[in-house]
Amino acid sequence: MGNAVEIKDLTHYYGKKLVFENLSFNIREGSIFGLLGKNGTGKTTTINILNGFLRPKSGKCLMFGEDSYNLSPVTKSRVGFLIEGHIQYSYMNIKQIEKFYSAFYPRWKKEPYYELMSKLAVTENQHISKMSCGQRSQVALGLILAQDPDLLILDDYSMGLDAGYRRLFIDYLTEYAKAENKTIFITSHIIQDLENFLDECVILDYRSVLCTMPIKEFLKTFKQFRFETSVADLKLGKDNVIKNSEILKNKVAIYTFCEKAEVENHLNSKGIKFTNLHQEPMSLEDAFIGITGKY
């Protein structure tokens, strides 16, 4: 199985401001990949580069082996793209929009689309502009499923959706991914629904890449340790052991990829007195906040 997407040393600036530098990752065919990060860390920039709507300052970006800036129509037909905000042609109704898209994709299957539409409380003639955020997202999802693409790219699928719709998306996508060789690439800053969904992830921070690894490995290796300290006004900076820290009065939480012993040594070497050092379990969301920070 090859790579659906290959990104190597991708660097981009907005004017003089660096967005990210030397971003590299591959998305294997058949996997579910998450590009995670807080708002403004470059997720949509990466998506734009991937879909050929932005030319990066330097670096390579390939989709199914083709330069993403010059995708051939054949490759484009294999890619389903959900734009941030579930953008669609708002002047069409659900029947018209399905009719429009069906002519472009040879593998178009209208049944999954209409099945999803039947669950929506909308009339056939209702314009998309007159739908709620959640209804629009379902239309966008239905269209992508009907296209039957090999690679699904969903940029911030959760934007504006409440929990019910978010869960619906994940359910449908999980079902879709069960078919052979379907690759899904999701960007999001809302992590709670993705824990059992993603295979691998890249986590972006402002101007840097925080980690690139399978989810299982991330959850196994990234740990939260808590302790109490008597040091008043303790300040812990980020270093190669401590990725992040939170200090509330005398209770400290640190986030690290290291083992407990290494942490103990590190705190001792810094002369920090601690008691009750123990590891706390984390969900994916906790780990995400831990690695990116609360601010």
């Binding site: 981009h12 600036y13 907005y14 004017g15 734009n48 879909n51 050929g52 709507f53 932005l54 030319r55 300052k57 800036y69 129509p73 054949v74 484009k76 037909s77 890619v79 793209f81 734009i83 905000g85 953008i87 669609q88 042609y89 708002s90 002047y91 069409m92 018209q96 009719k99 429009f100 898209y101 002519a103 472009f104 994709y105």
Partner: protein
């Protein structure tokens, strides 16, 4: 796939197209009544004499109706596309982007030409009914640069709307104003006769430039 694109643009623009076609028809019918009333108020040979001697352009009302038609159709076509970058949706379709742009603009150019043909047809009937055929012949050559200018105005709207960079957009607005103004100069009949082919050539060149805006759109803001 082109049929689907026509379907999409038609869904988007059908009401504005009908509205503009009606406005054009009303404008031309208004010219009919103005001319008919002139012939009722003054003796026919005086009217013909005045029109010949002073080169009265009795259809000058449609000059700006025609220009606005092109502008409005362009705005209604591309404002929804550029709103929240919906052009990305269109560019993501499995068709070469240049081909897409060409097809989208061709559809509108055809719509515009069809409106202008109706304008010309009604004006021809009006001219031939009331006036000797020289007026009809001059009407054709006098109105032609206005129609071409309207199509150019539409093309500039495409260029301006798609261009992502705001400085270049403003520069394009200035150039567009200067460019389109070239097609609406001259006083009297058929003043573009010696140069109409050059103006057509210049219009064709103008009809390629939106590819540059589309290219800039794809390159993104850097």
């Amino acid at each position: 796939m082109f049929k689907s694109l026509v379907y999409k643009e038609w869904l988007k623009l059908r009401w504005i197209f009908v509205g503009l076609a009606i406005i054009n028809c009303l404008a031309v019918i208004n010219i009919y009544f103005d001319l008919a009333n002139t012939f009722k108020s003054f003796s026919a040979n005086v009217v013909v004499g005045q029109y010949q001697f002073y080169e009265v352009v009795y259809y000058s009302d449609i000059k700006y109706v025609v220009l606005l038609t092109g502008l409005i159709l362009g705005i209604f076509q591309f404002f929804p596309e550029m709103n929240q970058s919906r052009l990305k949706l269109t560019f993501h379709l499995p068709v070469n982007e240049s081909k897409l742009m060409f097809q989208m603009t061709s559809i509108i150019v055809i719509l515009l030409i069809s409106i202008f043909l109706v304008d010309t047809l009604i004006l021809s009937i009006v001219s031939l009914k009331f006036l000797p055929r020289e007026f009809f012949e001059n009407m054709l050559t006098t109105t032609l640069p206005w129609y071409i200018g309207s199509i150019c105005a539409y093309l500039w709207i495409v260029i301006i709307f798609i261009e992502p960079n705001w400085v270049k957009r403003i520069i394009s607005v200035l150039i567009a104003a200067g460019f389109v103004n070239l097609f609406y100069s001259g006083v009297g009949y058929s003043k573009y006769n010696p140069s109409i082919l050059f103006f057509v050539l210049v219009a064709i060149v103008c009809g390629t430039v939106y590819f540059l805006s589309a290219y800039n759109f794809k390159r993104g803001i850097c």
